[in-house]
C-alpha cells in the first residue's frame, strides 16, 4: 500500500511534534522535581540544627507562655508537611528570611554579592577554555609525546591540589614576594568612593565608564583568584578536549579528508574540533557551574566579596537563613546551567533533534 506524499509528511510532522511535546514535558518534570528536591533537602537541613530556633529568639529565661507564643508565631507547632509548604512558598517567592549577621533580607544580600562570584567564575572559565582547549587538542594530536605528558601532569595536579592551599602559596609568592598583584579584595580602598559600579560586574562597569586606572586595579585584584579558578577549569577542559579529539581523529571522515589532500591544520582545527565542540560546550558549562562552587574556598582566601565568602561568613556565625538561602541559590543556578547546556547541545547537534 502506498500512501500519498502529503500524508507521509504530515505523519512525520505529527510524530516530530509529539516527540517534541514529550521532551518538553520530560524537561519540565525534571526541573520541577529537582527544584522540589532542593527545597526538601534545604528544609530538612534547616530542621536538623541542634539549636532550638525558639530559644535562639526568646532566650532560655523566657517564661513558658512567651516561648509557646513564639513557637506558634514561627509556625513550629504545625505538622511538618505544613511547615514545609510554608517554607517552599516563601522560598519560591524569594523570601529566605533575614540574615542574622547583616540584618538584611537574605535575598537582598545574595543579589548584592552574586555578581562578584559570577565575574570570578566567568574569568576562570574564559581562561580555562582559551588555554585548555588548544592544550587538549595539542595533547590529542601529539598523543604519547612529551607535550601530551606535560598536559596530563598539569591536569593531574589540577585534580589533586587543594585550591585554598595553592591560593595561600600564590599569595605569598605573587603578593608578598614579587608584589605583582594587589592585596586580597576586589578593588583598592582608594577607588571605593570614586568608582560607582552599576551592574555589579566591576570590570564591565569600569570599562563602560572609561576609568582605566580603576580597570588596572581591578585587574590586579582578579588576576590571582581568576587565574587559580582558570587553572582548575583548564585541568578539566583540557582533559575532556583531548578525549573528544582522540575520538574524532579516529573517525573515517578524517581519513577521507586526508585522502582528499587537506592540510593537517585544516583537518584538526576546522573538521575535528568543530565536531568535538558539541560535547565541549556541555563540558564548559559544567566547568562554569563547578567554578561557582569552587569559589567558596577561593573567595575565603582572597577576601573576594562574593557568594562563597558570604556563605562561609554566615557559617562561622551560625546564620542558617543565609547559609540555606545561599545553598538554594547555588543549587538553582546549577540546575539552570545544566538545562542551558542540555538545550545548547540539542541545538548544536542536529542528530539529537531528529530522534
Amino acid at each position: 500500500m502506498t500512501l500519498p506524499e502529503t500524508s507521509v509528511a504530515t505523519r512525520r510532522n505529527r510524530r516530530r511534534a509529539s516527540s517534541f511535546a514529550t521532551s518538553v514535558l520530560r524537561f519540565a518534570v525534571t526541573v520541577v522535581t529537582t527544584i522540589f528536591g532542593l527545597l526538601v533537602v534545604t528544609f530538612f537541613i534547616g530542621r536538623v540544627i541542634p539549636i532550638d530556633p525558639v530559644l535562639a529568639i526568646v532566650g532560655d529565661r523566657a517564661p513558658a507562655h512567651l516561648y509557646e507564643r513564639t513557637r506558634i508565631e514561627l509556625g513550629l507547632n504545625l505538622p511538618i508537611y505544613q511547615q514545609f509548604f510554608i517554607y517552599a512558598k516563601q522560598a519560591l517567592s524569594g523570601h529566605f528570611g533575614t540574615s542574622v549577621l547583616t540584618s538584611n533580607p537574605v535575598l537582598e544580600d545574595i543579589r548584592r554579592v552574586f555578581p562578584a562570584t559570577m565575574e570570578l567564575a566567568t574569568i576562570g572559565t574564559l581562561i580555562g577554555s582559551i588555554v585548555g582547549v588548544p592544550l587538549g587538542v595539542l595533547a590529542a594530536v601529539r598523543r604519547g609525546s612529551i607535550a601530551d605528558q606535560i598536559v596530563r601532569v598539569i591536569g593531574l595536579i589540577g585534580y589533586s591540589v587543594p585550591i585554598f592551599w595553592l591560593g595561600l602559596l600564590s599569595l605569598v609568592l605573587f603578593y608578598a614576594q614579587l608584589r605583582w598583584v594587589a592585596f586580597p579584595g576586589r578593588v583598592d580602598i582608594v577607588y571605593e568612593y570614586s568608582f560607582t559600579p552599576q551592574t555589579g560586574f566591576y570590570l564591565l562597569d569600569a570599562a563602560m565608564q572609561g576609568q582605566w586606572e580603576v580597570m588596572w586595579d581591578l585587574f590586579r585584584h582578579i588576576a590571582l583568584p581568576g587565574g587559580l579558578l582558570g587553572y582548575f577549569s583548564l585541568a578539566y577542559i583540557s582533559r575532556m578536549t583531548r578525549s573528544f579529539m582522540l575520538n574524532e581523529l579516529s573517525q573515517e571522515y578524517v581519513v577521507a579528508a586526508r585522502a582528499k589532500g587537506l592540510s593537517e591544520t585544516r583537518i584538526i582545527w576546522f573538521h575535528a574540533l568543530r565536531n568535538a565542540a558539541v560535547p565541549l560546550v556541555t563540558v564548559i558549562a559544567l566547568s562554569y557551574a563547578n567554578l561557582l562552587e569552587g569559589s567558596v574556598l577561593t573567595e575565603t582566601i582572597f577576601s573576594w566579596p562574593g557568594l562563597g565568602l558570604y556563605i562561609t561568613n554566615s557559617l562561622q556565625n551560625a546564620d542558617m537563613n543565609a547559609v540555606l538561602g545561599g545553598t538554594l541559590v547555588i543549587g538553582a543556578v546549577f540546575v539552570g546551567i545544566n538545562i542551558f547546556s542540555d538545550l545548547l547541545y540539542r541545538t548544536l547537534d542536529p542528530r539529537t533533534r531528529s530522534r
Binding site: I45, P50, S160, V161, L168, V172, E293, L315
Partner: protein
C-alpha cells in the same frame, strides 16, 4: 584438553596465562594476573599504588615513626622553628609541635575519612543503582529522580550546609561527604545492571527459581563491583580535598586533632613569615590525592582497556 595443560605447575606464569583453565581458582587467578600485568605496565599507576601503600604504612605505624607528640608541643623552646631544625625536620608550628609528627598522625584521619566515606557511600550507590536497574518501571523512575536531585546539588556547598546544621566535627564531615558522593555510584551501577539484566545467565538463574533479591545480591552486584571500585578510587582524591576544605573552614576535625586541612588553616596566620607551617600539610594532601588519582586512572585502564588512554 591436553595433558600438558593440566600438568602445568600451579601459580607459574604459564598456569596463570593458560586459556584453558581447569579449575575456577585457576581462571580467577589468571584473570587477576592479566589485569595486574596490564596495571603494572603503567609506571604512573604503580607510583600511585606505592603512594597509597605508603599512606597505609605511615598511618599504621605513626606511633613508631613520629619523633614527637602530635598534640602537645614544647612551647618554651620550639615555637615556629624553620625547616631542617635539629630534631624537627619539617619545623614546628605556633604551639611548638613537630609538623612532621602531626603530618604522620594526620594520615590516620585522612585514611579514616576516605575509608568511611567509601564504606557508607559505595554500598548505598550500589544498592540504589542495581535495584533501580534491575527492577525498572516506577521503582527505577523514583530512585533515579532522587539520585538526580542529589546530583544537581553542588557537592561542597551541600556538605557545608549539612555540617553547619549538624555541628562541626570529623564524624559529621564524613557523613556529609558520604551523603553527597553516592549518586554517581548509583548511576554507574544502574548502567551496568541495564547492560546485562536481559542476558541469558540472569534468565537461567531466574528459571532455577532465584528470587529477585537473590539475583540482585548474588548475580548482579558482583558484576558491578569492578567499575564501582574504579570510580570510588578516582573519587577518593575529591573526597580528601573536600574533607580538607571542610577542615580548613573549621567544620571538619577540631583542634588539637592533626587534620591536614585544619593545619593549613592554623598556619594561615603566619603564612608570610613562617610559610612552612601551612605549606607542609598542603604537600601531604597533594601527594595523597595525586596517588589516588594515578591509582584510579591505572585501575580504569587495566580493568577496562576500551577506555584506555582517553
Amino acid at each position: 584438553m591436553s595433558i600438558a595443560e593440566t600438568s602445568l605447575k600451579p601459580y607459574s606464569r604459564e598456569w596463570l596465562l593458560s586459556d584453558r583453565p581447569t579449575s575456577r581458582r585457576q581462571a580467577r587467578f589468571g584473570r587477576a594476573y592479566i589485569v595486574w600485568r596490564r596495571f603494572a605496565e603503567n609506571r604512573l599507576a604503580l607510583m600511585g599504588l606505592v603512594i597509597i601503600l605508603g599512606l597505609i604504612f605511615v598511618a599504621a605505624f605513626a606511633g613508631v615513626l613520629a619523633p614527637h607528640d602530635p598534640v602537645v608541643g614544647d612551647l618554651r623552646n620550639s615555637r615556629l622553628l624553620p625547616l631542617g631544625s635539629p630534631g624537627y625536620l619539617l619545623g614546628t608550628d605556633d604551639q611548638g609541635r613537630d609538623i612532621l609528627s602531626r603530618l604522620l598522625y594526620g594520615s590516620r584521619l585522612t585514611l579514616l575519612v576516605v575509608v568511611l566515606v567509601a564504606i557508607i557511600a559505595a554500598p548505598i550507590g550500589l544498592i540504589v543503582g542495581t535495584v533501580s536497574g534491575y527492577a525498572g518501571g516506577w521503582i527505577d523512575a523514583v530512585l533515579m529522580r532522587i539520585t538526580d536531585i542529589f546530583l544537581a546539588f553542588p557537592k561542597l556547598v551541600l556538605a557545608l550546609a549539612l555540617v553547619a546544621a549538624l555541628g562541626p566535627g570529623i564524624e559529621n564531615a564524613i557523613l556529609a561527604i558520604a551523603v553527597t558522593s553516592w549518586p554517581p555510584y548509583a548511576r554507574i551501577a544502574r548502567a551496568e545492571t541495564m547492560t546485562f539484566r536481559n542476558s541469558e545467565f540472569i534468565a537461567a538463574v531466574k528459571l532455577m527459581g532465584a528470587s529477585p533479591f537473590r539475583i540482585v545480591l548474588r548475580h548482579v552486584m558482583p558484576l558491578c563491583i569492578s567499575s564501582l571500585i574504579v570510580r570510588v578510587t578516582l573519587d577518593m582524591a575529591g573526597i580528601i580535598l573536600t574533607a580538607a576544605g571542610l577542615g580548613f573552614l573549621g567544620l571538619g576535625a577540631q583542634p588539637p586533632l592533626p587534620e591536614w586541612g585544619a593545619m593549613i588553616a592554623s598556619g594561615r596566620r603566619f603564612i608570610l613569615d613562617q610559610w612552612w607551617v601551612a605549606a607542609m600539610p598542603g604537600f601531604a594532601i597533594l601527594i595523597v590525592s595525586l596517588g589516588f588519582n594515578l591509582l584510579g586512572d591505572g585501575l580504569r585502564d587495566a580493568l577496562d582497556p576500551k577506555e584506555a588512554g582517553q
